[in-house]
Symmetry: D2
Subunit: 338 residues, 4 copies
């Protein structure tokens, strides 16, 4: 933390800040400049809260110097975190492919999707049983029935299952049927849910909020880890920008930045990211080239009949073509498929 | 909904879309242009889901024509909703002032704040017992102890109490101690929480998410109303923009637009909105001039000692000055104070 | 400038930064923390360029401490700048009203508009002769013919004329016919144009770019002042946000922040700001309440026949009603009309 | 264009809109819905201006159905535009690499950079002689002296030269020394400059504005083409988002969307895009995987001594490593290097 005083702040105002720093058990370092005084603070563990200083007379600005996240950072743990999900390793040298429909809609649909994506090379099945929808009048998911169908698909195919948990009340039920629990983008800062998921011990796929900075994203992951759960994967799924031609804007800058700052695995979701079926393969290729540990792709046996997100779902034929490209790009980068 | 076909879409592709519309029980209206065909849809109640059409061959775009919100709209209910909270009427001719600290910190602090803002003209006391913080290492609120202190302040002053509920598990406890339950900005699209609050019947202060469009904000309110609760106030509290000199950007455009589209009361929070104490009065004045039904202001007996948000809290002296300005602006607009 | 070193930066890396600072004639202040070293820099005039440091080994971050603008800041000139335009004073105690059509379309149109707004209380006439349009196929303005019509309107009414200059080649021509030259939002960072306008000595109305931060806005004004022109007014005209129901989002937070940081007058344009005729009055009122020195309002004798921006232009009748409200709000704040 | 009437618009209001459409020589198609009437418009060439309709009584909304760009679109010209620059073909099967320093600083610097990037596989040399800087106090470029040095580097290496033109007054001088003229991001909507560059006939590298939508970007290109110049390349160079850890956010979604909508070549600039040297290679790889026709990379012989943008410039050694990766990714996609 650096406290910057106003140009005309008097010695008494500077002294009051210095005293306050000392009162907090920290060490002040006054830097007298030609125009103004700045005061560095050391001796803190974790970030210093700017609150008490910002309101003091003569203070112009409080500038954060250290990052506020700790346990998720490479400064605390240098080597990559690898999450082992029943033998499939996420975050290691091999690229992981997760695929499946937006929502579980019926037994036929989820089984056809599961067998299809398994045959084409995926190792994870995605599918929502509880769906966050902007409108209360839209399809809200099959609930527990959907979880049971995902579990059935897992039995038949051996795919690992990832599904969203929207409500802490459903946590134990979801944990029973799924291998990885997803936190949706809109719940990224639902801190109550994060605390409970942190305590659950289950592997978590944390989706980035559509307007979250990378610092906020890492702080949400810090909530999970600080409550005891190190098995967290970070998923970039598109941010909100001014662009209206695409559903979201997949932010691939997040991939190298997150990999540099944190030891956690990074997953890219090109389907929500760009939101247009014809452009999903280009963004999947780019995500892998940027260094993602996994891709998460929406695939539906009949996209034109999907109850949600049909416009961004690949058919099985399109997914097969994409897998051909995935193998080529991953191979060029020296990564096998998990 | 208007389905726009690609320039070279053939008659069979157009016909397939027309058939699909009919299969959904709706009426298609084909408009053959020089370059492309567009197909209007009528006969729907509520918004048509673009999903099934977007994935069909030959379809270029699905354009929403109607707004997706219904119960919160003036088209459904033309007259203003007035929420009566124990005799204080929010949404009527009188301007309501809500004030108090960001967090409840101690008995002395909350009682001093409550008596102070009461004396200066506020009718609502705000204060958080459960605090959503971006960092797991920051002060998380006093919990039930905080609720009890708010309740005590209410007994002593007669102020109505508004406080945030972060977790559905705390809903009944919060409802017992508070008059109005607040949904925080980060929970605006926590649909599980919205459904339960909708069913609670308690007056709700719904804060706009920092990156939410007005349509999304109204759809979140629609969740509350569709689950049975018409006593909802919409609170603009600043959106995220590129500006870094202020904490948020208070969006006063929201005030006339929301008042025109919806019958619900509109509250403005200049404290979170701009986030800098010295500029809170200007934004409070502007919010009233734009047509807000209430303002929500952070006031702390000793801002420099606040455990959260000290940089945006007014002292009681500053709040007193602000109230003088509030009376002048409200008076000029013909609005008494509630 | 504060240089923050990486946690594991070695003494040699720290020393190299210290040496570089000395080599630039500045003074380094090393602050050794528990986890990392930070190095403050003093002795600079104006902002230190982070470039040379950012690329050095061991450097984690370069944090700007001072604002980069100087001549436009209150730190350099404390008292308000008042721009006298032929006797009308912009930036003083009196509120200035500027009104007129988006584009000059014909002699009848501009004269009817000018006489109308004059009668209702405006002291400035706005109108574009050169129009920046996103499409090359849209009306581009009447050019010099438009300037002559503005000049004629000025002769007949005594109104001062403000008009946009898009191209340095037209500068002397525009300067001949107009009293104040406007820099459009899209040209806010057209530095070549700013330098030439700075040298012109004419009063300038500088519009904020739709995605510009306030720092960038003030730096654009700094270009004008640094090239010799202190007669600069800052105009907030709406920023781009995620909202699609309004054309732009008028950012009234800019008003108190700019007034605090700079001595230059601040103008608010509610017409472009919200872009919807029915909501212009609410935003004009709010702009005045926030502390604007002037408002700039689009008025057209027949908005439904306007060649540009008809959806945001007030009719003369609507402008008359607005002026009634303006007088009430300005009066409540103790400001007469200029 | 689709005109949506308000729910309670009367027959006379609908009829007035219908008449206005006919008066413009276009064909109205009324679609009577249960709640409201919508009126489609056909018979137009290019986009219909919403202005005249938006201000009419009873009109709720004017919805654009067609894209406003024409000459740059694939609907008008289906095959890829290939720009031949002295034998190097941009937009064809081969991937083009453009590299060099941000600014031309000295003869030694530019010659060392040029020979270095040539040896490592680039075919274009980039370098600025006129620099747009946010501060008037920062290095503004060497001007004509810089152009002469670029020309000298071209003679010695055979590299093609791309450089920015900031001011129409410098156009003929820049055109004399350079092969491709760059329009900087901040000038993307400097329509005066675009018109003159359109008339120049020189190949243009048009950079996307940091807050421009893809539609606006294509409309800026439309200005160039509509004024006679089809030799235009579109350059994605990072957009502004809420992220502060990176300089900009490289938007790779733009690549497949622009390639689908337009026949013009697409260039990706990972250096400005992410703005951090260590992450440039990841974004360059991702840009190629997304389908870019060229990459534009900042390379400086001594980044730590650069007068501008040192933090994002690669050294020649780093550029050599990147070229190894570029060859692998381009090869995997079946693209040779130009």
């Amino acid at each position: 933390m650096l406290i910057v005083m106003k140009p005309h702040a008097g010695p008494a105002e500077v002294e009051a800040v210095v005293e306050k720093i000392r009162a907090l058990g920290l060490t002040p370092h006054a830097i007298p400049g030609a125009q103004r005084v700045a005061i560095g603070i050391t001796g803190n563990k974790g970030a210093v809260d700017p609150g008490p200083f910002a309101a003091m007379p003569g203070v112009a600005d409080c500038i954060r110097v250290s990052q506020p996240f700790k346990l998720v950072s490479r400064e605390v743990k240098e080597e990559d975190t690898v999450i082992d999900v029943g033998g499939v390793r996420l975050g290691g040298p091999a690229l992981v492919v997760m695929a499946g429909p937006c929502s579980v809609e019926s037994k036929d649909q989820i089984l056809e999707a599961a067998h299809g994506v398994k045959r084409l090379g995926a190792t994870f099945l995605r599918g929502g049983a509880f769906k966050p929808r902007t409108s209360p009048y839209e399809f809200q998911g099959l609930g527990e029935e959907g979880l049971k169908l995902l579990s059935l698909a897992r039995e038949q195919t051996g795919l690992k299952v990832v599904t969203e948990v929207m409500d802490a009340d459903d946590l134990s039920m979801c944990a029973e049927y799924a291998d990885v629990l997803q936190v949706g983008a809109r719940n990224m800062q639902n801190f109550s849910l994060l605390k409970k998921l942190g305590a659950s011990g289950k592997p978590i796929l944390l989706k980035r909020g559509p307007a979250a900075t990378l610092r906020e994203f890492l702080m949400a992951a810090e909530y999970l880890v600080a409550h005891g759960n190190y098995r967290v994967a970070l998923c970039e799924r598109g941010i909100r920008t001014f662009e209206t031609m695409t559903r979201n804007t997949l932010d691939l800058n997040a991939v190298p930045v997150l990999k540099a700052l944190s030891h956690l695995p990074v997953v890219v979701d090109p389907s929500h990211g760009i939101g247009l079926r014809r452009h999903v393969p280009a963004m999947a290729r780019a995500g892998i080239a940027a260094g993602a540990d996994a891709i998460l792709v929406e695939v539906h046996p009949r996209p034109e009949a999907a109850l949600s997100d049909g416009q961004q779902s690949l058919s099985l034929g399109e997914f097969g073509e994409l897998m051909g490209q995935v193998r080529i790009i991953a191979g060029a980068l020296g990564r096998p498929l998990a």
